[in-house]
């Protein structure tokens, strides 16, 4: 008997089914996911379950992970790029204790990565899945308050309101101001909210190797971007979409200039410096720099 089988037995001995959810709930999530994958970018309603964490704290992503995870999977959970934030630690502990799977912080080793607000910097492969926690799945929420009308707009492909919103943004501010959750068009059809990932991560969704799954537990919606699917940010021809520009800044820890950076300020001097948002990527960069003898 392997260690993992032991862990699985231990989970059931504590009175839980494997991966916490009962099999009917898992089946519900899987069926809805199949539909979501079949209609890229389309929000599919699902029977969202009560969980031992509060709604709005990642229950959508958690249900996807619990429904898909098997005993041989390797799990990574990140919150805003970090493996060590409270939310990530607790979700990882819950999944690990009720499944007995191995966990990791290395994005290359994981088969399932559950995340909040970031896509890992390390390119993902066809053998992996990224599960995103979604606070609000509706890209039309700022432009239309009625849910019935929003469903109709999606059905008719009527995205004029969101375009007018972008247009008005440019008139007022000279650019599209959305800093996160930048609206994208998936497979030339549905407009989708890619969750509050920074603009930096949006191009990673386009024609990717990896399956992206999105779960909103409180809003009871699932959606998906299958591999090799076109994901295009809504943009004007003369004002193309651009990712964040850090003005050539480098991470003060690993020296990388090719990752999404968080700014921080020195309490004493007030000096601004940057550090990678993705801690796993940063650590590996720092190790590489150390081995090659370059100062970070």
């Amino acid at each position: 008997m392997s260690v993992r089988e032991l862990a699985r037995d231990a989970a059931s001995a504590r009175g839980y089914n494997f991966a916490y959810l009962d099999e009917h709930s898992k089946r519900e999530v899987r069926r809805r996911l199949l539909k979501a994958v079949a209609i890229p970018g389309h929000q599919v309603p699902f029977a969202s379950r009560e969980l031992p964490i509060a709604r709005g704290w990642g229950t959508g992503g958690l249900q996807i992970t619990l429904a898909l995870i098997g005993p041989d999977d390797v799990l990574k959970v990140i919150d805003q790029g970090s493996d060590d934030s409270v939310n990530a630690v607790n979700l990882r502990a819950l999944i690990a204790r009720t499944t007995g799977v191995w966990t990791t912080s290395d994005a290359r080793d994981a088969t399932i990565i559950q995340t909040r607000h970031r896509v890992p910097e390390t390119p993902m492969t066809a053998a992996q899945m990224l599960v995103l926690q979604v606070p609000d799945p509706e890209p039309l929420r700022h432009v239309e308050s009625g849910e019935t009308r929003r469903r109709r707009m999606h059905a008719e492909g009527d995205y004029s309101a969101i375009w007018v919103h972008l247009f008005e943004d440019v008139v007022r501010w000279g650019e599209v101001t959305a800093a996160s959750g930048y609206p994208v068009r998936v497979h030339g059809r549905y407009v989708m909210d890619p969750t509050p990932i920074p603009r930096w991560d949006v191009p990673k969704l386009d024609r990717a190797e990896t399956l992206y799954l999105f779960g909103a537990g409180r809003e009871k919606r699932l959606y998906a971007v299958p591999p090799h699917t076109a994901v295009e940010p809504l943009e004007f021809d003369d004002l193309p979409f651009a990712v964040e520009d850090f003005g050539g800044a480098r991470c003060r820890r690993c020296g990388s200039a090719r990752s999404f950076l968080n700014a921080s300020y020195d309490h004493e001097t007030g000096e601004r410096s940057y550090v990678c948002s993705d801690t796993d990527y940063c650590e590996r960069c720092a190790a590489t720099a150390l081995l090659s003898g370059e100062a970070p």
Partner: protein, 280 residues
């Protein structure tokens, strides 16, 4: 006889609000003097409405309030689903496909690409809190124009054509006078050059001098753009000024249709005679 295929054809359009019964259409209409079915209480907003509009023509629909003229426009534009009937538009599937039977996505295409609507109330046709420029831009964005500078240039030209001061392009229509709101709405409807424009009581509620300017604008558009229009009004003066042919509606039915001059000078039906004599 007219052998040129019509740009727009409506066949036997019927709209019933309520459950409806077999007798609804038979028991309502001008001869019954009512549009409420005495048997089931359903409201027959319009029934058996058929008409044709040629390219470049202004077609008038006149009638008292509640006669069903706005319902005809709303059904055509897709704001309401008709109970029965068919409609054909030459640029849509070469005039072979019924607009009313089209899927929601195709209906959306029709209302954004092939039709332009100007409502009686500008609040229905405009986003009052967005700038006038963005309101006009909406129609261009919908048909796939994605060039910010070009869209803005087009909005400027349209506001110029509809005599809205360009300096106010970035102001929301909420701050405008009623006449100016109406002209922004017309500019929006025109933005992507739809082959058919629908006007619903565009001058109602405007003072007389503003009415005159809006009517001048519509005539100017017809002269310059040769676009076909359906103009709905209860005001025979508006119809006389704009429409070459006119249908008179009462209790949800067309009671008379013909050349506008003929209808106004030599009305055939008793109701039309009453309407014309009441106006003059």
């Amino acid at each position: 006889m007219d052998t040129v295929p019509a740009l727009l054809r409506i066949d036997a359009l019927t709209k019933i609000h309520g459950a409806g019964c077999d007798a609804c259409v038979a028991l309502t209409g001008p001869q019954a003097g009512a549009n409420v079915c005495p048997r089931c209480g359903s409201v027959v907003a319009c029934a058996d409405v058929s008409l044709e509009v040629q390219a470049g023509e202004i077609f008038g629909i006149v009638g008292e309030s509640g006669s069903g003229k706005t319902t005809v426009l709303r059904c055509l534009y897709g704001d309401e689903a008709p109970t029965s009937g068919r409609a054909y538009l030459a640029p849509f599937d070469e005039g072979r496909a019924d607009l009313f039977a089209a899927s929601p996505q195709r209906r959306y295409y029709i209302r954004t690409h092939l039709l332009g609507m100007v409502y009686q109330s500008p609040a229905l046709g405009l986003r009052m809190d967005f700038s006038s420029g963005a309101n006009i831009a909406e129609r261009l964005l919908v048909v796939g124009d994605r060039h910010f500078g070009r869209i803005r240039g087009r909005a400027r030209a349209l506001l110029e054509r509809t005599e809205v001061p360009f300096a106010r392009i970035d102001e929301p229509p909420r701050r405008f006078s009623g006449g100016m709101q109406q002209r922004v709405q017309i500019a929006k409807a025109l933005a992507n050059d739809p082959p058919v424009l629908l006007f619903d009581e565009v001058t109602t509620g405007l003072d007389v001098s503003v009415q005159a300017r809006v009517l001048d604008l519509i005539r100017e558009l017809r002269r310059r753009l040769r676009v076909a229009m359906i103009v709905v009004s209860h005001d025979l003066g508006v119809i006389r000024l704009l429409a070459q042919r006119t249908a008179v509606m009462k209790d949800g039915r067309i009671v008379e249709v013909g050349l506008t001059d003929q209808i106004l000078e030599d009305p055939q039906r008793p109701y039309t005679q009453l309407l014309v004599s009441a106006q003059l």
